[in-house]
Every structure is written in C-alpha cells, then in structure tokens.
C-alpha cells in the first residue's frame, strides 16, 4: 500500500511543525484513530484510593456501566493527581477476572466449593447466627451481674471497610451481645 507523498515522514514533519519527529508526525493512522478511554467515558466519578491511608483522590471513568479507567484526581490537595503503583493498578482490582461473582459454599469435610444462591446463603448464615446466639447466650455471671453476651460469635474486619459499614457492624453485633468484634486496626 503506497503512501501519498503528503504522508511521507519528512513532509509530515514539515506539515505538522513537528521538527524533531517525536510528536504527531510519527503517529500511525491507528494511533491517530485512538481516543483515550478517559475522553470516551460516559461519566467520571470522584473516589478515593482503597489501599493505604494517604487517601489519594481518584477519578473513575465509566463506559457502558463498566469501569474503564482509574486515574489520579488532580483536584485533590492531598495527592495532586498522583497515584502510586497500587492506586494505579486499582482498575485491575475492580475488573479482575478472578473475582468470584457468586456465593461459594464449602460443607463440613468438603473437598471443594459449591456455588450457592446468595439469598439462600444469607438465610443459612442467619440460621447459624441465631442458633449460636441462642445456645451460647449468657445473661449474668455467677455473681448475678449483667453480662448479656455471647462468646460464640466473633468478627474480624479489614480497614478498607467504610465508616458507615463499621457503624452498622458494631451496632448489630453489640445489640446481639457479640463482643469479640475486631479490626485490622488492632493488628
């Protein structure tokens, strides 16, 4: 396929003013036809990096209800648009092909997972929760003092939980008398 003389590299360089041949003069037709994912996105959402506690601002680009790119938010006075390797890799975190999309269940003594309907799985967890709660509830100690608790249920959360999530978790478990409720913050 022949190039029109207008497309000869040196002519291109002259034509586009790209004297050093490092700009538009040396882009291929394919590159020229490419648009950044950030400009074709349907919307951009302001978010925060989920890794360390610097709290870098992120801009999440969404197209067709899918995250297509995550970049640093230049508006953030904390990060001024920068992200480290982890923050820059967070699009892979969201779109990872190994993320399980369904609930998995392993029965006692089982050697493999079985997929399970989420609604049913939540029901089974609620069954287990209430059964343990009922059997392990202790209302008072030997001296008759209030204990109002179960030592049969425990929880350990990571520190990528939102404040709102921690709030509901603490409220629910405390009302259930479960006190062994812990977080990465202890670790």
């Amino acid at each position: 396929m022949g190039l029109s003389p207008l497309e000869w590299p040196v002519v291109r360089q002259l034509r586009t003013g790209d004297r050093l041949g490092r700009g538009p003069a040396v882009t291929s037709a394919r590159t020229r036809a490419t648009e950044p994912r950030t400009s074709t996105a349907d919307r951009v959402v302001q978010s925060v990096c989920p890794y360390c506690a610097v709290g870098c601002g992120q801009r999440i680009f969404v197209k067709d209800e899918k995250v297509v790119q995550i970049e640093g938010d230049k508006d953030s006075p904390i990060s001024r648009g920068r992200l480290c390797p982890k923050g820059s890799a967070s699009e892979q975190l969201v779109n990872s092909p190994t993320r399980p999309k369904q609930v998995l269940y392993r029965k006692p003594g089982g050697t493999d997972w079985e997929p399970m309907d989420r609604d049913r799985a939540i029901d089974l967890v609620v069954d287990r929760f209430l059964d343990t709660h009922r059997r392990t509830w202790v209302d008072r100690d030997e001296q008759g003092r209030r204990l109002r608790r179960t030592m049969g249920i425990a929880s350990l959360g990571g520190a990528t939980l939102d404040n709102e999530e921690n709030y509901l978790i603490k409220k629910l478990f405390t009302a259930a008398g479960a006190i062994q409720i812990e977080n990465q913050a202890r670790i």
């Binding site: 929760f129 509901l168 990465q184």
Partner: protein, 868 residues
C-alpha cells in the same frame, strides 16, 4: 514512608527541596533512605533508647522551648511522693505486682493540693483491668480522666518532684554511648540527629515525626510513640504547623476503624465498652471515664454517650434503663483478636465473620491462625478474591504438607463476594482524620455486595425472625434502630447512615457541632467526634473544592474530625498571650478587636475565650479551660510529658528488650516489658534471650515490613497481574557479611527457622542491610516483607513471614509484637512434609525451648525498692 505511603511522601520531597532535613531511622534501607539526608539503621525494637537519648540531649543542653514547656505542658506539675521511677527500682515503677504482671497506678498520680492524698483520678482503675480492656486506646480523641483540674505547679521547674526533674533523672543514663551500644547507631550520627532536631525547633521552625507500625507493633509500642510525644512537647512542636507526630496509617480507613470502631473495647468516639460490675449504672459508667470537675470537652462525655444510645436504640434508650446501657453486653477482660484466636483453639467460638481481612497470612503466627479456623463450626469470609483465609481447608501449608486433610476439617465455610471501592458509596477516614466521600461508579458484579448492604440485610432478617420474641437475649436486637431508607433497588442509603452518625436535635435537624449534644436524651449522634460532617444538612465529606483554589489548609476538601480542624491543639501555635510564636509559623491567633480566635485553620479552642481568661480554681468542663490551656481534651489542659494516668506500663517510656532479643537489657535488670501480655502455650513458643542458654540457636533478628507494590496480606495485590509482576516473589534481604557467614547466594534460596515456623524465601544480598555492633557483639538483621501466603488462588504465592512470629502483646493496646523476632537462616529450600516438622522440633530441642521459655516476669517490688 516513601515505600508505604508513596504519594504522601511527595510532601517530604517538597519540604526537602525547600531546605528541610530528612532523617530516616529504620533497620532497612528503603526508598525513603534513598532520598533522606541521613539514614540510620537501628536495631529493631530499641527506639526508646534512641528517642530517650534525644530527650536527655534536649534537656541537658537546655535546648527545649522553655516558654512553651512551662506554659503548655505538665513539666511544672508536682507528682506524688510515693512515685518511684525505674531508675530507683532497676526497671520497674512503683506499684508493680509480679504475680499478675500489672501495675497499681495509684502512686503515679499528681500531688494533691490539700492533704497530700493521692488523686483518685476519675475513678482509679487497676492496671490489670485497664490493660484487659486495652484502655489506652480510649484516648484516641482525649486524655484520661482526672478527678479534677487542681494541680500543684512549680514554674521554676526546680522542685525535685516536678515532672521536669523526674523526666531529667529518668533519661539521664540514655546517652549517646548507650545509643551506640543498644541501637547500633554511632555516636557521631546520633549527635547529627540531635543537632538537626534542635536547630529545627523553636519559635521559627518546627520538626515533624512520622511513624507507622514500626513503632506500634512492639511490646513497648505505645511507649515508643509516647517517647516521641515527650520530645515534641519539649521542643514545642505540637499544635503548630509543620510539627506534630504523624501516625501513618496503613489502610484506607484504619483511622475510621478506630473512630467508629469494630474493636472489642470501644464504642464509637472512643467511649469505652461497659465492663462487668463496674458499669452497672449510667452514672458509674460516666464516672469511670470522666469527671465534671476535670477540664475540657471530654467532661461532657455523658452527652456523647446518651446521644450514641439514642442513635442506636431511639425511644428504647431512656433514663430509666440507664440510657440503654442495660441493653449492652459487658466485657470481663481482654477480648482482642488474639484472645479470640486462643478461644477458637479452645473451641469456645463457633462462628467467625472475616470481612476484607486475611488473618491466615496477615496476623502474627499464621500456623496458629489457620489452626484456629479449623476449630470453628462456621466461617463467613467476605472478600474480593478467594484469600487464603477462605481456602485454608484446601490449600494451606498444613494441607500441602499432608498434616491436615480437607475431609477431616469440619468448618463450614461461606464465601461472599464483596463490592470494591468503586462499587459502593461511603467514607474512608484517611491518616489525617479526614473523611472523604466516595461516589459510587458502578454496581457490583454478579452477587457481590457491600458490607453495608450485607449487614443491613442480615440485620433485617434477624429481626424478622425474632419478631415478637420476649427473650432477654433478643431484646437489644429488636430495640435497635434499623429502619434505614433504601433506594429504588431496595439497597440501603449510605448517606443516611452517615447522617445518623452525625446526629440530630430534638426536631430531627442535623447537628452542626458536638457541643450541641445534650445528656437529657433530646439529641442523637452515632459518633460525637464526627458530628458536623453533616453540618447545615450538607455532606461535607463530599466537599471537593480543588486544592489549587484554596489555602494550604484546604478546609473545603473532605471534612476532618473534630469540627473540620486540620491541626489538633492549634491553640499552641500561638503564645500564651495569643500571638503567633513567630510570623513564619503562625496558624491561629487571638484577634482582640473582634474578641475571637482567628487564622488559617479552625481554632481548636473555645472560639471567644480570651487568652487572659482564668477560670475560678476547680471549674470543670470547657469553662475550666484557661485562656492559655491549649490541650483542650486533657483533664488539666496541658500536654503530658509525664502520664499520671492512661498508660498501664508506666508514666514514662522505659527501654525494655523485645520478647525475643539477641542481647541482655543493658539498662535494667528487667529484660522485657514486665506488663506484656503473654500466652504460655505449647503452640506459641519463644526463643530464649541472653544470657539464657540456647539463645545462640536463633542468633539473628528478623524484621518484617511492607513493599510499595503490595498491600498487607496480599488480598488486594497478589491477585493483580501488574503488582505481581512488579514484586513477584517472597524474599529475605541479608548483608554480604551474613551471606558469607551462612553461605547464602543472591537469588538463591534460604530457609528461615524461628521457634514457631520454618519458611523459605529467595535471598537478596545487599549492603543495604548493615551488621550492627551491639555492646561489642555483631548482630545481623534480616529484612522480610509479609505479603505472601501459601495457596492456589493468587497470581503469586509464597511462604508467609508472619508464620515466623509468636503471639505476645503490648498491654496498652493488645497489639502484637509483629515487627521482629529471633531466627536462624541457612542456605537452600525448606524441607517438605514431615521433614519440616522434624527440623522445627530439632531446633526447639537444641535451644531447650519450652512453653515457659521467655514468659517469666520480675518479682514485685514495694515502694521502698526492696524486692520480695
């Protein structure tokens, strides 16, 4: 910091470009060391000697900020005459009970004005009970209670019983020579740091300390941080721009996870969980945490607690049921994550929720953690990927070695896919107490859902099942408020939860400040320190005025607790008369004309309190704060050089060696922190420390840290191809000297043996690891990251460094000594199968290790100093 908080480090780089001196003290040479003016490799666990010697230097050269110290700290305050220091008792403070390993802290109190009686500060609690509920953490927002605010002071700082003189004596033996002998830092390097510190503190300049879990994860962790607090107060570097102590928190919302805690000992806003017996009534509860006669805003804790209970229980929280305190469970001791692990091993725990966490890899003593999971009846894991904690029954190291068979493991496991940060809205609280709202970008895939939605649903179903129950155990579940608004898809609205956290007045209007909270039940609020995030009905966590359009404080980006203040205790940025200490370092100041505090930040002080204001002696609460008391959350309005309350292991930081150490404590007869929390068990063995026989079997120090390219236990990084490619393999970093001594080859394999585990890693030989000369003897340190775990699901896997650790805790916080331990290292890969266990046992027997090794405590000492 460059390694683990890379984007935050841009500000250090920028400061350096503008002339700041950057000093990095770390056993490892990292990306921070690479750009620092000075890198000092230190023997892991000896920071109190290093910092204590700086305190000694600052005092003995009279380099402290005299006016600041006298006016703003408790340097002048007199301490009770019964107090005895570790210098008097060879490593113990007065009040130690050798049988329990706890202190009676009564004698540490301030001197009482009238008759010399020891202050019963806010209901004096015994150290054992304080430790058991990890009481130190209650001071995340304010200081410990004193019964009142009247103290005796000698502002000449000469009285031998004043804090300043006690401090001076306490650190007099922490000398540059001691630093060289204990930390392995040459005297001349130490003096360079001392000079830089003093040259860069005072009216015109400030110095900042940054730390992370390199300080926290020790049996003296809380005290390491206290040592730097003392230093910063002496130098006048607290409450001022460019000063302070920056806790670099490691996870997106670890600060939030303590503010609104999922921690056993805390309720939101650092209110304590009630304790059996002591907190039967609301009055008992409040009296144990504060006193109306103490100064400052913490004196209003009753209003914060009543408002919390109104948020949780609505109309079911009344004066008659002790504002629903009657509905809450009671603590009977420490119920932290490690105690819970032990309870699982003892088959006391049936069900366990693990939410975005990976204890099989991330917690100390992985073998013990995985064994604990095996003892559960049911386990719920919610995560983005199939982390090792979810799959321990099929691909843990114990299954791989043939020790366990999946068929024999009876734990029922539910794995629920979680929503990522892009798939849910909500707030993280980052390391500077800043709440930032994330908008939701897309829906979670498939059946994945957020914790918020999951627990809302679980709560709804539990309540539906229990409807009509009159059982006592179901009462609180049915009484709690759980009627959150939902969207078109029936999903809970996170903003409504944040609004509940913010709180409302009697008319249902959102509160604008915690000072509006009342103790009469007319206000609600789920976490008093977060009140104001919804001021004027606006979600300020979502404020996003670009940084370039604001001053450097950037008050309109996110919202910081409390009250959107960015620098805590910033009243200290001005002198006692209210004028900035210097033009260069001004932040807030008193504007006499308008009768208000003003400046670049939100004043952390009653806004119209004149600097010359003096309350009537003994006035409590916010009215008791004098015009020159900057520490508005402290019961005496002062910054505490000496902690008469609040620490369970001493009012002043003292050097103890780590649980496992290559040397005998050169400072005191007491080797390790006498209050450390010990679990004496056959499955939790410790190496002997010198001079005990067998200490040479595990002659090296391993120290564990993070890498830029990975995140904690790997759940969010080892499944990502980009990050896995950047750091593909578990490795250990050793010096050329150690490599030569043990025949280790760069890029070859090494086997590392501790009394708990045998692991293998690739060898990285670099001169970035320096052999240290400690008391004339060479000590080698081995650096290791802890991001890898054994399993089949991640892109990359490898042996886990945390398997090497034992479980021993700081008594203030119940946090593990996760930074170091003793080990041996040999060339080659580790054995497989039974041979691995034999190797472990062979080392244990050679060192003579038993469950009792390293678990002894010193004997009790009476106040006269006689051992008995």
């Amino acid at each position: 910091m460059a390694e683990c908080h890379p984007v935050g480090f841009q500000w250090v780089t920028e400061a350096k470009a503008r002339g700041a001196t950057v000093i990095h003290v770390d056993p490892r040479f990292t990306r921070t060391s690479a750009v620092a003016d000075l890198h000092l490799p230190i023997r892991a666990g000896t920071d109190i000697v290093f910092l204590g010697a700086l305190i000694n230097h600052v005092i003995s050269t009279e380099s402290y900020f005299h006016d600041y110290v006298v006016a703003y700290t408790n340097a002048a305050t007199l301490v009770h005459e019964d107090f005895r220091d570790t210098e008097d008792l060879d490593g113990l403070f007065s009040g130690y009970d050798g049988a329990t390993g706890h202190y009676d802290t009564t004698s540490w109190a301030y001197q009482e004005p009238e008759d010399g009686a020891v202050a019963k500060a806010g209901g004096n609690e015994h150290g054992s009970s304080e430790s058991a509920r990890s009481a130190g953490e209650e001071h995340g927002s304010g200081g410990p209670a004193l019964e009142h605010s009247v103290v005796l002071r000698d502002e000449t700082l000469q009285d031998p019983r004043c804090v300043f003189q006690i401090l001076k004596r306490h650190y007099s033996r922490y000398t540059p020579q001691m630093v060289a002998d204990v930390c392995g830092i040459p005297e001349e390097d130490f003096l360079k740091v001392a000079k830089a510190l003093c040259d860069n503190s005072g009216r015109d300049k400030t110095t900042m300390f940054c730390y992370a879990v390199g300080w926290t994860q020790h049996t003296v962790g809380a005290q390491m941080i206290r040592t730097s607090a003392i230093l910063q107060l002496l130098l006048g570097n607290v409450g001022r721009p460019g000063g302070g102590i920056m806790a670099l928190r490691g996870h997106a919302s670890i600060q939030g996870s303590t503010d609104i805690p999922t921690l056993f000992n805390l309720l939101p806003g650092y209110l304590p969980m009630p304790k059996v017996g002591d907190h039967e009534t609301f009055e008992d509860y409040i009296a144990s945490i504060t006193s109306k006669d103490a100064k400052g805003f913490w004196a209003n804790a009753d209003a914060y607690m009543v408002s919390l209970m109104k948020s949780w229980f609505g109309e079911h929280a009344t004066k008659d049921n002790n504002w629903a305190l009657d509905l809450l469970p009671r603590l009977t001791g420490a119920h932290g994550t490690y105690q819970t692990t032990m309870a699982m091993l003892d088959d006391e725990v049936e069900g366990y929720f693990v939410l975005g966490q990976n204890p099989a890899v991330g917690s100390a003593h992985g073998t013990l953690q995985r064994d604990a999971l095996r003892h559960l009846k049911w386990l719920v894991v919610r995560d983005l990927q199939l982390v090792e904690t979810a799959t321990f029954w099929k691909d843990s190291p114990e299954v791989a070695s043939g020790e366990w068979r999946p068929e024999d493991i009876d734990t029922e496991v539910f794995f629920f896919p979680a929503a990522s940060h892009a798939e849910k809205a909500g707030t993280f609280t980052q390391t500077q107490r800043l709440l930032q709202w994330r908008h939701k970008a897309v829906n979670p895939p498939g059946d994945a859902q957020s914790e918020l939605e999951f627990f809302f649903e679980v709560g709804k179903r539990i309540r539906a099942r229990l409807a009509g129950s009159t059982e006592e155990r179901d009462r609180a579940l049915l009484a709690m408020t759980w009627d959150y608004p939902t969207d078109a898809e029936g999903e809970i609205d996170p903003a409504a939860v944040l609004a509940e956290i913010n709180g409302r007045d009697a008319d249902g209007q959102l509160l604008s400040a915690y000072t509006q909270m009342k103790a009469d039940g007319s206000t609600s609020g789920g976490c008093w320190i977060y009140t104001g995030v919804f001021a004027d009905g606006i979600n300020h966590a979502a404020d996003r005025v670009p940084g370039r359009d604001q001053n450097p404080i950037a008050a309109q980006w996110g919202w910081a607790w409390p009250a959107n203040r960015r620098v805590l205790y910033n009243r200290a940025s001005a002198d006692p008369e209210g004028k900035p200490w210097s033009e260069r370092k001004k932040l807030i100041w008193w504007d006499a004309e308008s009768g208000k505090w003003t400046g670049d930040d939100v004043p952390d002080f009653p806004p119209d309190k004149d600097p010359s204001f003096r309350p009537e002696e003994g006035t409590g609460g916010p009215d008791g704060i004098a015009g020159d008391d900057p520490f508005v959350m402290m019961a005496d309005g002062k910054g505490w050089l000496y902690a008469p309350k609040g620490m369970v292991d001493g009012p002043l930081p003292t050097h103890y060696e780590s649980q496992e150490s290559p040397v005998h404590n050169p400072l005191y007869a007491v080797q390790a922190n006498p209050t450390r929390v010990i679990f004496e068990r056959k499955d939790n063995l410790f190496a002997p420390s010198p001079p005990a026989p067998g200490s040479d079997v595990y002659p090296f120090v391993f120290t564990i840290a993070r890498l830029t390219e990975h995140h904690t236990a790997g759940g969010m990084s080892r499944w990502l191809p980009y990050l896995s490619e950047l750091q593909p393999e578990m490795f250990c970093e050793v010096s050329p000297e150690l490599a030569a001594e043990r025949g280790l080859e760069n890029a070859g394999w090494a086997t590392i043996v501790s009394p708990r585990a045998v692991i293998e890693a690739r060898v990285l030989v670099t001169d970035r690891m320096k052999p240290l000369r400690i008391n004339g003897k060479i000590v080698h340190q081995i650096g290791m990251p802890y991001h890898w775990g054994v399993g089949n699901e991640a892109v990359i896997s490898g042996d886990s460094a945390n398997d090497l650790l034992g479980v021993v805790l700081d008594a203030n916080t119940q946090i593990q000594e996760g930074k170091l331990g003793s080990c041996d290292i040999v060339a080659g890969r580790r054995p497989r199968g039974e041979a691995l266990d034999r190797l472990l046992a062979e080392y244990q027997s050679r060192a003579g290790v038993t469950a009792a090794t390293g678990t002894q405590r010193p004997h009790s000492v009476d106040t006269q100093g006689d051992s008995h």
